[in-house]
Subunit: 320 residues, 2 copies
Amino acid sequence: MAVTVVGSVAFDALETPFGKRDRILGGAATHFSLAASFFTDVRVVGVVGEDFGAEELAVFEVRGINTDDLDRVDGARSFFWAGRYEEDMAVAHTLDTQLNVFAEFDPALSEGARESAVVFLANIQPDVQRRVREQCEAAVLTGLDSMNYWITSARDSLLQTMRAVDVVVLNDAEIRMLTHDPNLARGARQIRALGPRVVVAKQGSYGAAMFTEEGFFSVPGYPLETVVDPTGAGDSFAGGFFGYLDSHSASPITDEKLRCAAVYGSVLASFSIEEFGSERLQRLTHAEIEQRFDEFRRMTHFEAIRPAASGRTVTTSNRR
Amino acid sequence: MAVTVVGSVAFDALETPFGKRDRILGGAATHFSLAASFFTDVRVVGVVGEDFGAEELAVFEVRGINTDDLDRVDGARSFFWAGRYEEDMAVAHTLDTQLNVFAEFDPALSEGARESAVVFLANIQPDVQRRVREQCEAAVLTGLDSMNYWITSARDSLLQTMRAVDVVVLNDAEIRMLTHDPNLARGARQIRALGPRVVVAKQGSYGAAMFTEEGFFSVPGYPLETVVDPTGAGDSFAGGFFGYLDSHSASPITDEKLRCAAVYGSVLASFSIEEFGSERLQRLTHAEIEQRFDEFRRMTHFEAIRPAASGRTVTTSNRR
Protein backbone atom coordinates (compact mmCIF):
# COMPACT_ATOMS: atom_id res chain seq x y z
CA MET A 1 0.00 0.00 0.00
CA ALA A 2 1.07 3.56 -0.58
CA VAL A 3 -0.35 7.04 -0.39
CA THR A 4 0.30 9.44 -3.25
CA VAL A 5 0.18 13.19 -2.69
CA VAL A 6 0.19 15.77 -5.43
CA GLY A 7 0.94 19.38 -4.54
CA SER A 8 3.53 22.04 -3.98
CA VAL A 9 7.12 21.45 -2.95
CA ALA A 10 8.47 24.89 -2.29
CA PHE A 11 10.72 27.28 -0.49
CA ASP A 12 9.18 29.52 2.14
CA ALA A 13 10.32 32.71 3.80
CA LEU A 14 8.63 33.02 7.20
CA GLU A 15 8.32 35.60 9.92
CA THR A 16 6.58 34.86 13.22
CA PRO A 17 6.85 36.44 16.67
CA PHE A 18 9.35 33.67 17.46
CA GLY A 19 11.82 34.40 14.68
CA LYS A 20 12.26 34.14 10.96
CA ARG A 21 13.59 31.88 8.23
CA ASP A 22 14.71 33.37 4.90
CA ARG A 23 14.61 30.14 2.92
CA ILE A 24 13.18 26.94 4.29
CA LEU A 25 11.77 23.81 2.67
CA GLY A 26 7.99 24.07 2.50
CA GLY A 27 4.96 23.34 0.35
CA ALA A 28 1.81 21.34 1.02
CA ALA A 29 3.17 18.09 -0.46
CA THR A 30 6.30 18.35 1.69
CA HIS A 31 4.40 18.69 4.96
CA PHE A 32 1.93 15.99 3.89
CA SER A 33 4.66 13.54 2.85
CA LEU A 34 6.65 13.86 6.02
CA ALA A 35 3.56 13.41 8.21
CA ALA A 36 2.27 10.44 6.19
CA SER A 37 5.69 8.76 6.16
CA PHE A 38 5.22 7.77 9.80
CA PHE A 39 2.37 5.48 8.79
CA THR A 40 2.95 4.09 5.31
CA ASP A 41 4.89 4.35 2.04
CA VAL A 42 4.54 7.75 0.41
CA ARG A 43 4.93 8.97 -3.16
CA VAL A 44 5.20 12.67 -3.78
CA VAL A 45 4.10 14.14 -7.11
CA GLY A 46 5.38 17.66 -7.72
CA VAL A 47 7.78 19.90 -9.55
CA VAL A 48 10.84 21.80 -8.34
CA GLY A 49 13.51 24.01 -9.88
CA GLU A 50 17.25 23.67 -9.96
CA ASP A 51 17.42 25.45 -6.60
CA PHE A 52 16.08 22.22 -5.07
CA GLY A 53 19.31 20.41 -4.23
CA ALA A 54 20.67 17.36 -2.47
CA GLU A 55 19.97 18.80 0.95
CA GLU A 56 16.25 19.18 0.22
CA LEU A 57 16.04 15.79 -1.50
CA ALA A 58 17.58 14.18 1.57
CA VAL A 59 14.68 15.40 3.73
CA PHE A 60 12.40 13.15 1.69
CA GLU A 61 14.81 10.27 1.26
CA VAL A 62 15.68 9.90 4.94
CA ARG A 63 11.96 9.33 5.56
CA GLY A 64 11.81 6.78 2.74
CA ILE A 65 9.50 8.96 0.61
CA ASN A 66 9.47 7.99 -3.06
CA THR A 67 10.43 11.02 -5.23
CA ASP A 68 10.20 9.34 -8.67
CA ASP A 69 7.34 11.72 -9.49
CA LEU A 70 9.09 14.84 -8.23
CA ASP A 71 10.21 16.57 -11.44
CA ARG A 72 13.26 18.79 -11.31
CA VAL A 73 13.35 21.46 -14.05
CA ASP A 74 16.74 22.86 -15.02
CA GLY A 75 17.03 26.59 -15.55
CA ALA A 76 13.99 27.35 -13.43
CA ARG A 77 13.23 28.07 -9.81
CA SER A 78 10.93 26.35 -7.30
CA PHE A 79 7.64 27.74 -6.07
CA PHE A 80 8.31 30.41 -3.45
CA TRP A 81 6.05 31.82 -0.75
CA ALA A 82 6.79 34.50 1.82
CA GLY A 83 4.45 35.04 4.75
CA ARG A 84 4.20 36.67 8.13
CA TYR A 85 2.16 35.81 11.25
CA GLU A 86 1.14 38.29 13.94
CA GLU A 87 0.85 37.61 17.66
CA ASP A 88 -2.37 35.63 17.44
CA MET A 89 -0.89 33.20 14.84
CA ALA A 90 -4.35 32.77 13.34
CA VAL A 91 -3.86 34.47 9.97
CA ALA A 92 -1.00 34.15 7.48
CA HIS A 93 -0.26 37.44 5.73
CA THR A 94 1.19 36.69 2.29
CA LEU A 95 4.14 38.95 1.48
CA ASP A 96 5.18 37.36 -1.81
CA THR A 97 4.20 34.48 -4.07
CA GLN A 98 6.32 33.30 -7.02
CA LEU A 99 4.80 30.35 -8.87
CA ASN A 100 7.92 29.74 -11.00
CA VAL A 101 7.95 26.06 -12.15
CA PHE A 102 4.58 25.52 -10.50
CA ALA A 103 2.78 27.74 -13.05
CA GLU A 104 2.83 24.98 -15.69
CA PHE A 105 2.35 22.03 -13.30
CA ASP A 106 0.21 19.31 -14.89
CA PRO A 107 1.75 15.96 -14.03
CA ALA A 108 1.58 12.63 -15.84
CA LEU A 109 1.90 10.09 -13.04
CA SER A 110 4.27 7.13 -13.02
CA GLU A 111 2.77 3.67 -12.96
CA GLY A 112 3.69 3.35 -9.31
CA ALA A 113 1.85 6.50 -8.35
CA ARG A 114 -1.20 5.54 -10.42
CA GLU A 115 -1.48 2.31 -8.45
CA SER A 116 -1.65 3.95 -5.01
CA ALA A 117 -4.53 2.91 -2.77
CA VAL A 118 -4.89 6.37 -1.26
CA VAL A 119 -4.48 9.66 -3.12
CA PHE A 120 -4.47 13.19 -1.73
CA LEU A 121 -4.87 16.19 -4.01
CA ALA A 122 -3.34 19.04 -2.05
CA ASN A 123 -4.29 22.64 -2.73
CA ILE A 124 -3.63 23.22 -6.46
CA GLN A 125 -5.72 24.33 -9.43
CA PRO A 126 -8.85 22.10 -9.43
CA ASP A 127 -8.57 21.15 -13.14
CA VAL A 128 -5.12 19.77 -12.40
CA GLN A 129 -6.44 17.99 -9.31
CA ARG A 130 -9.11 16.32 -11.45
CA ARG A 131 -6.68 15.22 -14.14
CA VAL A 132 -4.54 13.61 -11.45
CA ARG A 133 -7.60 11.99 -9.90
CA GLU A 134 -8.54 10.47 -13.26
CA GLN A 135 -5.11 8.85 -13.56
CA CYS A 136 -5.50 7.04 -10.22
CA GLU A 137 -7.92 4.30 -11.19
CA ALA A 138 -6.81 1.94 -8.42
CA ALA A 139 -7.48 4.37 -5.58
CA VAL A 140 -9.78 3.13 -2.81
CA LEU A 141 -9.75 6.47 -0.99
CA THR A 142 -9.19 9.94 -2.43
CA GLY A 143 -9.22 13.37 -0.83
CA LEU A 144 -8.66 17.00 -1.68
CA ASP A 145 -7.85 20.32 -0.10
CA SER A 146 -8.41 23.73 -1.70
CA MET A 147 -8.32 27.42 -0.78
CA ASN A 148 -10.28 30.68 -0.99
CA TYR A 149 -8.56 31.62 -4.27
CA TRP A 150 -9.92 28.57 -6.15
CA ILE A 151 -13.32 28.78 -4.44
CA THR A 152 -13.85 32.21 -5.95
CA SER A 153 -11.91 31.93 -9.24
CA ALA A 154 -12.57 28.30 -10.25
CA ARG A 155 -15.68 27.37 -8.34
CA ASP A 156 -17.35 25.18 -10.97
CA SER A 157 -14.18 23.22 -11.61
CA LEU A 158 -13.66 22.75 -7.88
CA LEU A 159 -17.20 21.44 -7.41
CA GLN A 160 -16.65 19.02 -10.30
CA THR A 161 -13.43 17.76 -8.69
CA MET A 162 -15.16 17.38 -5.33
CA ARG A 163 -17.69 15.05 -6.95
CA ALA A 164 -14.81 12.71 -7.78
CA VAL A 165 -13.30 12.34 -4.28
CA ASP A 166 -14.25 10.61 -1.03
CA VAL A 167 -12.94 13.15 1.47
CA VAL A 168 -13.00 16.95 1.35
CA VAL A 169 -10.64 18.69 3.77
CA LEU A 170 -11.15 22.44 4.11
CA ASN A 171 -11.01 24.96 6.89
CA ASP A 172 -14.17 26.41 8.45
CA ALA A 173 -13.98 29.69 6.54
CA GLU A 174 -13.50 27.89 3.21
CA ILE A 175 -16.54 25.67 3.85
CA ARG A 176 -18.62 28.75 4.62
CA MET A 177 -17.31 30.53 1.52
CA LEU A 178 -17.93 27.54 -0.72
CA THR A 179 -21.44 26.80 0.51
CA HIS A 180 -22.58 30.39 1.19
CA ASP A 181 -23.83 29.08 4.54
CA PRO A 182 -22.59 30.42 7.89
CA ASN A 183 -23.63 27.17 9.64
CA LEU A 184 -20.88 24.56 9.45
CA ALA A 185 -23.12 21.52 9.89
CA ARG A 186 -25.39 22.64 7.03
CA GLY A 187 -22.37 23.50 4.88
CA ALA A 188 -20.85 20.07 5.44
CA ARG A 189 -24.16 18.47 4.52
CA GLN A 190 -24.16 20.44 1.26
CA ILE A 191 -20.68 19.21 0.38
CA ARG A 192 -21.54 15.62 1.23
CA ALA A 193 -24.58 15.92 -1.07
CA LEU A 194 -22.13 16.47 -3.95
CA GLY A 195 -20.67 13.01 -3.42
CA PRO A 196 -17.86 12.97 -0.83
CA ARG A 197 -18.69 10.64 2.07
CA VAL A 198 -16.49 12.57 4.49
CA VAL A 199 -16.06 16.29 5.14
CA VAL A 200 -13.28 17.37 7.48
CA ALA A 201 -13.38 20.96 8.76
CA LYS A 202 -9.99 22.18 9.94
CA GLN A 203 -10.52 24.65 12.79
CA GLY A 204 -7.07 25.97 13.64
CA SER A 205 -6.46 26.04 17.38
CA TYR A 206 -9.94 24.54 17.93
CA GLY A 207 -8.94 21.29 16.22
CA ALA A 208 -11.03 19.55 13.59
CA ALA A 209 -14.59 18.39 13.01
CA MET A 210 -15.59 15.49 10.79
CA PHE A 211 -18.97 14.88 9.19
CA THR A 212 -19.80 11.39 7.87
CA GLU A 213 -22.87 9.29 7.16
CA GLU A 214 -22.62 7.89 10.68
CA GLY A 215 -22.50 11.28 12.33
CA PHE A 216 -20.29 13.97 13.75
CA PHE A 217 -16.85 13.64 15.31
CA SER A 218 -14.75 16.34 16.89
CA VAL A 219 -11.13 16.40 18.02
CA PRO A 220 -9.75 19.44 19.85
CA GLY A 221 -6.57 21.30 19.08
CA TYR A 222 -3.61 20.35 21.25
CA PRO A 223 -3.24 23.13 23.86
CA LEU A 224 0.30 24.22 23.00
CA GLU A 225 1.56 27.16 25.00
CA THR A 226 4.02 28.05 22.25
CA VAL A 227 3.11 27.89 18.57
CA VAL A 228 6.25 28.78 16.61
CA ASP A 229 4.98 28.51 13.02
CA PRO A 230 1.49 27.39 11.93
CA THR A 231 2.57 26.96 8.28
CA GLY A 232 1.81 23.44 7.08
CA ALA A 233 -0.43 22.48 10.00
CA GLY A 234 -3.32 21.62 7.69
CA ASP A 235 -1.12 19.60 5.34
CA SER A 236 0.47 17.77 8.27
CA PHE A 237 -3.04 16.98 9.48
CA ALA A 238 -3.93 15.59 6.05
CA GLY A 239 -0.68 13.61 5.95
CA GLY A 240 -1.40 11.97 9.30
CA PHE A 241 -5.04 11.39 8.33
CA PHE A 242 -4.49 9.78 4.93
CA GLY A 243 -1.21 8.11 5.87
CA TYR A 244 -2.92 6.37 8.76
CA LEU A 245 -5.87 5.34 6.58
CA ASP A 246 -3.55 3.98 3.91
CA SER A 247 -1.96 1.74 6.52
CA HIS A 248 -5.47 0.32 7.13
CA SER A 249 -6.71 0.41 3.52
CA ALA A 250 -6.55 -3.36 2.98
CA SER A 251 -9.87 -3.64 4.81
CA PRO A 252 -12.87 -1.29 4.63
CA ILE A 253 -12.41 2.30 5.87
CA THR A 254 -14.85 2.32 8.78
CA ASP A 255 -16.03 5.30 10.81
CA GLU A 256 -13.85 4.08 13.70
CA LYS A 257 -10.78 4.25 11.45
CA LEU A 258 -11.78 7.69 10.18
CA ARG A 259 -11.99 8.91 13.79
CA CYS A 260 -8.55 7.55 14.62
CA ALA A 261 -7.26 9.11 11.41
CA ALA A 262 -8.58 12.52 12.50
CA VAL A 263 -6.80 12.14 15.82
CA TYR A 264 -3.51 11.07 14.20
CA GLY A 265 -3.91 14.02 11.84
CA SER A 266 -4.29 16.35 14.82
CA VAL A 267 -1.26 14.76 16.46
CA LEU A 268 0.91 15.41 13.40
CA ALA A 269 -0.45 18.96 13.01
CA SER A 270 0.30 19.72 16.65
CA PHE A 271 3.94 18.67 16.27
CA SER A 272 4.29 20.51 12.97
CA ILE A 273 3.58 23.93 14.51
CA GLU A 274 6.09 23.51 17.36
CA GLU A 275 8.97 24.59 15.11
CA PHE A 276 9.57 26.34 11.78
CA GLY A 277 8.55 24.63 8.55
CA SER A 278 9.11 20.89 8.65
CA GLU A 279 11.89 21.04 11.26
CA ARG A 280 9.88 19.27 13.96
CA LEU A 281 8.52 16.52 11.70
CA GLN A 282 12.04 15.82 10.43
CA ARG A 283 13.10 14.69 13.90
CA LEU A 284 9.78 13.27 15.14
CA THR A 285 9.61 9.69 16.43
CA HIS A 286 6.91 7.04 16.44
CA ALA A 287 7.02 6.96 20.23
CA GLU A 288 6.27 10.69 20.40
CA ILE A 289 3.30 10.21 18.06
CA GLU A 290 1.81 7.41 20.13
CA GLN A 291 2.39 9.33 23.36
CA ARG A 292 0.54 12.38 22.03
CA PHE A 293 -2.23 10.21 20.62
CA ASP A 294 -2.77 8.97 24.17
CA GLU A 295 -2.77 12.56 25.40
CA PHE A 296 -5.59 13.31 22.96
CA ARG A 297 -7.50 10.41 24.50
CA ARG A 298 -7.06 11.87 27.97
CA MET A 299 -8.00 15.39 26.77
CA THR A 300 -11.35 14.16 25.45
CA HIS A 301 -12.21 11.33 27.82
CA PHE A 302 -15.05 11.45 30.31
CA GLU A 303 -16.99 8.82 32.19
CA ALA A 304 -20.72 9.15 32.51
CA ILE A 305 -21.10 9.96 36.19
CA ARG A 306 -24.81 10.67 36.20
CA PRO A 307 -26.30 13.52 38.23
CA ALA A 308 -26.66 12.49 41.86
CA ALA A 309 -30.09 11.97 43.33
CA SER A 310 -30.73 15.18 45.23
CA GLY A 311 -34.10 14.80 46.87
CA ARG A 312 -35.48 17.35 44.44
CA THR A 313 -39.18 17.96 44.62
CA VAL A 314 -39.39 18.84 40.93
CA THR A 315 -39.31 15.84 38.65
CA THR A 316 -40.02 15.39 35.00
CA SER A 317 -43.50 14.14 35.68
CA ASN A 318 -44.79 17.21 37.47
CA ARG A 319 -43.60 19.71 34.91
CA ARG A 320 -46.17 21.33 32.71
CA MET B 1 -27.51 20.87 48.82
CA ALA B 2 -28.35 23.89 46.71
CA VAL B 3 -26.73 26.15 44.18
CA THR B 4 -27.14 29.89 44.54
CA VAL B 5 -26.80 32.18 41.55
CA VAL B 6 -26.56 35.95 41.70
CA GLY B 7 -27.09 37.96 38.52
CA SER B 8 -29.53 39.61 36.19
CA VAL B 9 -33.17 38.69 35.78
CA ALA B 10 -34.32 40.78 32.86
CA PHE B 11 -36.46 41.39 29.85
CA ASP B 12 -34.82 41.03 26.45
CA ALA B 13 -35.81 42.25 22.99
CA LEU B 14 -34.19 39.99 20.41
CA GLU B 15 -33.78 39.92 16.66
CA THR B 16 -32.17 36.97 14.89
CA PRO B 17 -32.42 35.72 11.29
CA PHE B 18 -35.13 33.36 12.58
CA GLY B 19 -37.47 35.97 13.97
CA LYS B 20 -37.85 38.40 16.82
CA ARG B 21 -39.24 38.79 20.32
CA ASP B 22 -40.16 42.23 21.65
CA ARG B 23 -40.23 41.28 25.31
CA ILE B 24 -39.05 37.96 26.60
CA LEU B 25 -37.80 36.76 29.97
CA GLY B 26 -34.01 36.83 30.02
CA GLY B 27 -30.99 37.61 32.14
CA ALA B 28 -27.99 35.53 33.16
CA ALA B 29 -29.52 34.32 36.42
CA THR B 30 -32.68 33.20 34.62
CA HIS B 31 -30.84 31.03 32.11
CA PHE B 32 -28.53 29.71 34.83
CA SER B 33 -31.37 28.86 37.21
CA LEU B 34 -33.43 26.98 34.65
CA ALA B 35 -30.43 24.95 33.49
CA ALA B 36 -29.28 24.16 37.04
CA SER B 37 -32.80 23.19 38.13
CA PHE B 38 -32.49 19.91 36.23
CA PHE B 39 -29.76 18.81 38.63
CA THR B 40 -30.35 20.29 42.07
CA ASP B 41 -32.17 22.86 44.19
CA VAL B 42 -31.57 26.41 43.00
CA ARG B 43 -31.80 29.79 44.70
CA VAL B 44 -31.81 32.89 42.54
CA VAL B 45 -30.53 36.19 43.92
CA GLY B 46 -31.56 39.22 41.89
CA VAL B 47 -33.77 42.25 41.56
CA VAL B 48 -36.72 42.96 39.28
CA GLY B 49 -39.22 45.77 38.75
CA GLU B 50 -42.96 45.82 38.97
CA ASP B 51 -43.10 44.79 35.30
CA PHE B 52 -42.03 41.33 36.51
CA GLY B 53 -45.35 39.62 37.08
CA ALA B 54 -46.97 36.32 37.92
CA GLU B 55 -46.27 34.91 34.46
CA GLU B 56 -42.51 35.46 34.82
CA LEU B 57 -42.47 34.21 38.42
CA ALA B 58 -44.19 31.03 37.31
CA VAL B 59 -41.27 30.20 34.99
CA PHE B 60 -39.11 29.88 38.09
CA GLU B 61 -41.68 28.27 40.33
CA VAL B 62 -42.65 25.50 37.93
CA ARG B 63 -39.01 24.42 37.98
CA GLY B 64 -38.94 24.55 41.77
CA ILE B 65 -36.46 27.45 41.85
CA ASN B 66 -36.40 29.32 45.17
CA THR B 67 -37.09 33.03 44.59
CA ASP B 68 -36.89 34.24 48.23
CA ASP B 69 -33.87 36.35 47.23
CA LEU B 70 -35.45 37.79 44.11
CA ASP B 71 -36.36 41.33 45.18
CA ARG B 72 -39.24 43.03 43.44
CA VAL B 73 -39.09 46.85 43.54
CA ASP B 74 -42.34 48.74 43.18
CA GLY B 75 -42.39 51.79 40.94
CA ALA B 76 -39.38 50.66 38.98
CA ARG B 77 -38.66 48.61 35.89
CA SER B 78 -36.56 45.48 35.36
CA PHE B 79 -33.21 45.39 33.61
CA PHE B 80 -33.78 45.53 29.84
CA TRP B 81 -31.49 44.50 27.00
CA ALA B 82 -32.13 44.68 23.27
CA GLY B 83 -29.83 42.88 20.85
CA ARG B 84 -29.56 41.65 17.30
CA TYR B 85 -27.66 38.73 15.73
CA GLU B 86 -26.53 38.57 12.11
CA GLU B 87 -26.40 35.46 9.93
CA ASP B 88 -23.31 33.99 11.56
CA MET B 89 -24.85 34.18 15.05
CA ALA B 90 -21.39 34.70 16.53
CA VAL B 91 -21.72 38.30 17.75
CA ALA B 92 -24.52 39.99 19.67
CA HIS B 93 -25.01 43.60 18.63
CA THR B 94 -26.41 45.56 21.56
CA LEU B 95 -29.19 47.92 20.48
CA ASP B 96 -30.24 49.14 23.92
CA THR B 97 -29.38 48.61 27.59
CA GLN B 98 -31.51 49.98 30.45
CA LEU B 99 -30.13 49.07 33.88
CA ASN B 100 -33.23 50.28 35.74
CA VAL B 101 -33.48 48.45 39.13
CA PHE B 102 -30.19 46.72 38.43
CA ALA B 103 -28.19 49.97 38.75
CA GLU B 104 -28.33 49.82 42.56
CA PHE B 105 -28.13 46.06 42.91
CA ASP B 106 -26.12 45.07 46.00
CA PRO B 107 -27.89 42.18 47.67
CA ALA B 108 -27.88 41.04 51.28
CA LEU B 109 -28.45 37.30 51.06
CA SER B 110 -31.01 35.33 53.04
CA GLU B 111 -29.75 32.73 55.45
CA GLY B 112 -30.79 30.00 53.05
CA ALA B 113 -28.76 31.47 50.21
CA ARG B 114 -25.74 32.01 52.46
CA GLU B 115 -25.71 28.32 53.30
CA SER B 116 -25.53 27.09 49.71
CA ALA B 117 -22.78 24.61 48.89
CA VAL B 118 -22.23 25.99 45.40
CA VAL B 119 -22.37 29.67 44.43
CA PHE B 120 -22.17 31.21 40.98
CA LEU B 121 -21.53 34.92 40.52
CA ALA B 122 -22.93 35.69 37.09
CA ASN B 123 -21.73 38.68 35.10
CA ILE B 124 -22.25 41.72 37.33
CA GLN B 125 -20.02 44.47 38.75
CA PRO B 126 -17.05 42.69 40.37
CA ASP B 127 -17.28 44.60 43.67
CA VAL B 128 -20.83 43.31 44.04
CA GLN B 129 -19.72 39.81 43.10
CA ARG B 130 -17.11 39.96 45.84
CA ARG B 131 -19.53 41.20 48.50
CA VAL B 132 -21.83 38.29 47.64
CA ARG B 133 -18.93 35.86 47.74
CA GLU B 134 -18.02 37.08 51.23
CA GLN B 135 -21.53 36.35 52.48
CA CYS B 136 -21.35 32.70 51.36
CA GLU B 137 -19.10 31.27 54.04
CA ALA B 138 -20.43 27.71 53.68
CA ALA B 139 -19.66 27.41 49.97
CA VAL B 140 -17.52 24.47 48.92
CA LEU B 141 -17.38 25.57 45.27
CA THR B 142 -17.67 29.09 43.87
CA GLY B 143 -17.45 30.42 40.33
CA LEU B 144 -17.77 33.63 38.38
CA ASP B 145 -18.39 34.96 34.91
CA SER B 146 -17.58 38.45 33.68
CA MET B 147 -17.45 40.46 30.46
CA ASN B 148 -15.27 42.81 28.40
CA TYR B 149 -16.84 45.89 30.04
CA TRP B 150 -15.64 44.93 33.55
CA ILE B 151 -12.28 43.67 32.27
CA THR B 152 -11.50 47.14 30.99
CA SER B 153 -13.37 49.35 33.48
CA ALA B 154 -12.91 47.41 36.75
CA ARG B 155 -9.91 45.23 36.10
CA ASP B 156 -8.33 45.39 39.56
CA SER B 157 -11.60 44.64 41.29
CA LEU B 158 -12.25 41.75 38.95
CA LEU B 159 -8.81 40.26 39.62
CA GLN B 160 -9.46 40.58 43.35
CA THR B 161 -12.77 38.76 43.00
CA MET B 162 -11.17 36.04 40.90
CA ARG B 163 -8.75 35.34 43.75
CA ALA B 164 -11.76 34.42 45.91
CA VAL B 165 -13.37 31.83 43.63
CA ASP B 166 -12.62 28.27 42.53
CA VAL B 167 -13.83 28.42 38.93
CA VAL B 168 -13.52 31.22 36.36
CA VAL B 169 -15.82 30.91 33.36
CA LEU B 170 -15.07 33.32 30.50
CA ASN B 171 -15.12 33.19 26.74
CA ASP B 172 -11.92 32.94 24.71
CA ALA B 173 -11.85 36.62 23.78
CA GLU B 174 -12.36 37.68 27.41
CA ILE B 175 -9.49 35.47 28.59
CA ARG B 176 -7.22 37.00 25.94
CA MET B 177 -8.35 40.51 26.88
CA LEU B 178 -7.86 39.91 30.60
CA THR B 179 -4.44 38.29 30.32
CA HIS B 180 -3.09 40.29 27.36
CA ASP B 181 -2.01 36.95 25.91
CA PRO B 182 -3.25 35.65 22.53
CA ASN B 183 -2.47 32.05 23.57
CA LEU B 184 -5.37 30.50 25.46
CA ALA B 185 -3.33 27.87 27.33
CA ARG B 186 -0.93 30.50 28.65
CA GLY B 187 -3.84 32.82 29.50
CA ALA B 188 -5.59 30.09 31.46
CA ARG B 189 -2.36 29.37 33.33
CA GLN B 190 -2.16 33.07 34.29
CA ILE B 191 -5.69 33.02 35.68
CA ARG B 192 -5.09 29.80 37.60
CA ALA B 193 -1.98 31.42 39.11
CA LEU B 194 -4.31 33.98 40.74
CA GLY B 195 -6.01 31.23 42.73
CA PRO B 196 -8.88 29.57 40.83
CA ARG B 197 -8.27 25.85 40.40
CA VAL B 198 -10.40 25.67 37.26
CA VAL B 199 -10.61 27.90 34.18
CA VAL B 200 -13.36 27.21 31.68
CA ALA B 201 -13.07 28.88 28.27
CA LYS B 202 -16.41 29.15 26.47
CA GLN B 203 -15.79 28.91 22.73
CA GLY B 204 -19.16 29.45 21.10
CA SER B 205 -19.86 26.93 18.35
CA TYR B 206 -16.51 25.27 19.11
CA GLY B 207 -17.66 24.20 22.56
CA ALA B 208 -15.64 24.66 25.72
CA ALA B 209 -12.14 24.02 27.03
CA MET B 210 -11.27 23.42 30.68
CA PHE B 211 -7.90 23.90 32.35
CA THR B 212 -7.27 22.26 35.75
CA GLU B 213 -4.32 21.08 37.78
CA GLU B 214 -4.75 17.64 36.26
CA GLY B 215 -4.68 18.90 32.70
CA PHE B 216 -6.76 19.98 29.73
CA PHE B 217 -10.24 18.87 28.76
CA SER B 218 -12.21 19.82 25.69
CA VAL B 219 -15.85 19.30 24.76
CA PRO B 220 -17.08 20.30 21.29
CA GLY B 221 -20.11 22.36 20.44
CA TYR B 222 -23.18 20.36 19.49
CA PRO B 223 -23.44 20.55 15.68
CA LEU B 224 -26.87 22.16 15.45
CA GLU B 225 -27.99 22.93 11.92
CA THR B 226 -30.30 25.65 13.21
CA VAL B 227 -29.32 28.06 15.98
CA VAL B 228 -32.33 30.25 16.68
CA ASP B 229 -30.99 32.47 19.47
CA PRO B 230 -27.56 32.20 21.13
CA THR B 231 -28.57 34.51 24.02
CA GLY B 232 -28.01 32.79 27.35
CA ALA B 233 -25.92 29.93 25.98
CA GLY B 234 -23.02 30.74 28.31
CA ASP B 235 -25.29 31.08 31.33
CA SER B 236 -27.07 27.82 30.48
CA PHE B 237 -23.64 26.20 30.26
CA ALA B 238 -22.77 27.54 33.71
CA GLY B 239 -26.13 26.39 35.07
CA GLY B 240 -25.59 22.85 33.83
CA PHE B 241 -21.98 22.88 35.04
CA PHE B 242 -22.56 24.15 38.58
CA GLY B 243 -25.95 22.50 38.98
CA TYR B 244 -24.43 19.12 38.18
CA LEU B 245 -21.50 19.74 40.53
CA ASP B 246 -23.84 20.78 43.34
CA SER B 247 -25.63 17.45 42.99
CA HIS B 248 -22.24 15.80 43.62
CA SER B 249 -20.90 18.28 46.19
CA ALA B 250 -21.29 16.00 49.20
CA SER B 251 -18.05 14.30 48.15
CA PRO B 252 -14.89 15.92 46.72
CA ILE B 253 -15.16 17.64 43.31
CA THR B 254 -12.79 15.47 41.28
CA ASP B 255 -11.48 16.10 37.79
CA GLU B 256 -13.81 13.37 36.51
CA LYS B 257 -16.79 15.25 37.92
CA LEU B 258 -15.55 18.53 36.47
CA ARG B 259 -15.34 16.87 33.05
CA CYS B 260 -18.89 15.54 33.30
CA ALA B 261 -19.99 18.97 34.47
CA ALA B 262 -18.50 20.55 31.35
CA VAL B 263 -20.38 18.07 29.19
CA TYR B 264 -23.68 18.65 31.00
CA GLY B 265 -23.02 22.38 30.65
CA SER B 266 -22.59 21.93 26.90
CA VAL B 267 -25.76 19.85 26.75
CA LEU B 268 -27.80 22.59 28.43
CA ALA B 269 -26.20 25.32 26.27
CA SER B 270 -27.00 23.36 23.12
CA PHE B 271 -30.68 23.11 24.04
CA SER B 272 -30.82 26.75 25.11
CA ILE B 273 -29.94 28.07 21.64
CA GLU B 274 -32.53 25.96 19.81
CA GLU B 275 -35.27 28.47 20.60
CA PHE B 276 -35.68 32.07 21.75
CA GLY B 277 -34.69 33.05 25.28
CA SER B 278 -35.49 30.34 27.80
CA GLU B 279 -38.32 28.80 25.75
CA ARG B 280 -36.50 25.53 25.10
CA LEU B 281 -35.27 25.06 28.68
CA GLN B 282 -38.79 25.67 29.98
CA ARG B 283 -40.01 22.50 28.24
CA LEU B 284 -36.83 20.42 28.45
CA THR B 285 -36.92 16.96 30.04
CA HIS B 286 -34.39 14.88 31.95
CA ALA B 287 -34.62 12.20 29.28
CA GLU B 288 -33.61 14.69 26.58
CA ILE B 289 -30.64 15.79 28.67
CA GLU B 290 -29.38 12.24 29.18
CA GLN B 291 -29.92 11.42 25.51
CA ARG B 292 -27.85 14.39 24.38
CA PHE B 293 -25.18 13.65 26.98
CA ASP B 294 -24.83 10.25 25.31
CA GLU B 295 -24.61 11.96 21.93
CA PHE B 296 -21.69 14.01 23.24
CA ARG B 297 -20.02 10.74 24.22
CA ARG B 298 -20.45 9.40 20.69
CA MET B 299 -19.26 12.68 19.12
CA THR B 300 -15.97 12.52 20.99
CA HIS B 301 -15.34 8.80 21.30
CA PHE B 302 -12.57 6.97 19.51
CA GLU B 303 -10.86 3.65 20.04
CA ALA B 304 -7.11 3.42 19.67
CA ILE B 305 -6.77 1.41 16.48
CA ARG B 306 -3.01 1.68 16.08
CA PRO B 307 -1.40 2.19 12.67
CA ALA B 308 -1.21 -1.11 10.81
CA ALA B 309 2.16 -2.74 10.21
CA SER B 310 2.95 -1.85 6.63
CA GLY B 311 6.25 -3.49 5.81
CA ARG B 312 7.84 -0.05 5.80
CA THR B 313 11.58 0.05 5.31
CA VAL B 314 11.93 3.22 7.37
CA THR B 315 11.71 2.67 11.09
CA THR B 316 12.47 4.85 14.03
CA SER B 317 15.85 3.30 14.53
CA ASN B 318 17.29 4.17 11.15
CA ARG B 319 16.25 7.81 11.18
CA ARG B 320 18.91 10.39 11.71
